[in-house]
Symmetry: C2
Subunit: 355 residues, 2 copies
Amino acid sequence: MTDMLSPGARIGILGGGQLGRMLSVAAARLGFVTHIFEPGANPPAGQVADRVTTAVYDDAAALKAFAESVDVITYEFENIPTEALDLLEANCPIHPGREALRVSQDRLTEKNFLAGLGLKTAPFADITDLNSLKAAIDQIGTPAILKTRRFGYDGKGQARLRGPEDAEAALADMAGAPAILEGFVNFSHEVSVIAARGIDGQVACFDPGENVHRDGILHTTTVPARLAPAQRTDAVLLAANILNALDYVGVMGVELFVTSEGLIVNEVAPRVHNSGHWTQNGCAVDQFEQHIRAVAGWPLGDGQRHSDVVMENLIGDDMDRVPELARERDVALHLYGKAEVKPGRKMAHFNRITR
Amino acid sequence: MTDMLSPGARIGILGGGQLGRMLSVAAARLGFVTHIFEPGANPPAGQVADRVTTAVYDDAAALKAFAESVDVITYEFENIPTEALDLLEANCPIHPGREALRVSQDRLTEKNFLAGLGLKTAPFADITDLNSLKAAIDQIGTPAILKTRRFGYDGKGQARLRGPEDAEAALADMAGAPAILEGFVNFSHEVSVIAARGIDGQVACFDPGENVHRDGILHTTTVPARLAPAQRTDAVLLAANILNALDYVGVMGVELFVTSEGLIVNEVAPRVHNSGHWTQNGCAVDQFEQHIRAVAGWPLGDGQRHSDVVMENLIGDDMDRVPELARERDVALHLYGKAEVKPGRKMAHFNRITR
């Protein structure tokens, strides 16, 4: 498929959360009609989509019908079961492709892939039992973080080791799941590059944003990030390197630590990324439209920004700030339509245009 | 209702065209859930709305059920039958209110209303038959335009009179509908003010845009418009004057002719307006969100723009330009999801960020 998908074509989106919701709106803006596949009832994306299928990922009939109803499939999250992907792919093209999912679904595979490209990562080791954990602590040192290889996000499935004495408790936290130990990186700040690659191999990156986390969840992204010109170039080339190696189609979030020894890759996400939400109010083509353009075979936007932006997440009770924020000048609110406010739940974000 | 409607509340939108579609997306961005009422099947707005009711405006049961399912009702077009409004309003608040509709549904009423505020309009006369038309021509002169009092838009329901000899043919074009004769105005250019008024009476205006029409349909809007500072102030004050007089809630489009004798009001539209589409890529809060904010009792955005923009409509076969436009830098495309391309049909627009 090198042709542009025509307006009126149908785009299937796996996952009906806020990312699927904002992808759906971007797709509609380009004239596409969207169909959401989501196990949970009343997904936020369903409020702005043409169709919603409510079914689990091992419902083969539902997956097949979904795949047959659309012209291309994409997704808002990387933890899609392999069997579901097999079924879908037999009936419809999926972008980004399987290789990107295979690599990013497993922290160990991802780290090995990045190292294989000659990119720097935090020191890491495969952990299968207490012995391998103890050996890894000897090699990597502490503090360190033990993480499940699969299905972790927003700080979930992680345990900190302040010293070797924390080994057993941390391992117990993994509940038997395969894990990796990651050494701490002495970084000054974290940035992320939202990179996109088209079906024709064209790569476009948005300006790197600087991320601040709170309690393991992204709190703010500020654009422009503090980066020397050479670092900025490095960040963008490094991201392009990753996308090209995966023959990637779509938007990818690449998180980088800025250190005195250069940039270290923290992790990659084969999808639109929370740290790219600023593009909605900073660029003519935002990350959601950029992703849709890529998977639909359209030319990419160039990533140029017209404004500086600070993005801030509204999590749980932060929603109480909405009436006040609505009064503020240069603030653009983006609410996710989630019925229930829960602690730690991403409910909305806002972009403050700063220049 | 002076409270802010809470996220999760339901907003009903009468009309499922492109304006309803963009209103629906803006409402979702503020966490609202939308319900479209539209007689035509598969309306563009339905692709990005939570619910769609397909029913005609004299289906009392459907209107009542619609009104009862939402917390507030708004609309994308002013020609809603009075009986339908009566039924809806008995069950749910409607913004903008009845007075704005009464005035704008009838060109004669509108002209008299504007004149009553001391605002300048084109010379006009009520036309009931050939005698009154001839008398009006004597008074106003030619060239002039005969227009139906109701249900005209985008140049429909209009006949030009080059000289008195065109009177009978022009009147025949009206097919017996009540009409007014409007004299030509010698203007240098047309601008429009997209003005908003909140439930608390707060007024906010976007920067005036300069409009160019082709074949009676808006072709481009350029912001900033060519206006002297004093004209700019006049335009905004005049718009505020109109909104205050109507105790208006929502966004209104006010079209103005710029002449050597000052600003002349062409017409007003009690809704979001094609000439305000540039705000989507020029402002933190665009006209669609501004309208939703007003009808939901939220504070208004201040109308400040972060970028200069030229908006251009894509009409009929202009859609063939989409692949080329998608390649252009600083161009943001907005497609309407209409299945069929027809001559004269508004299919999409794009905003070019020029600074």
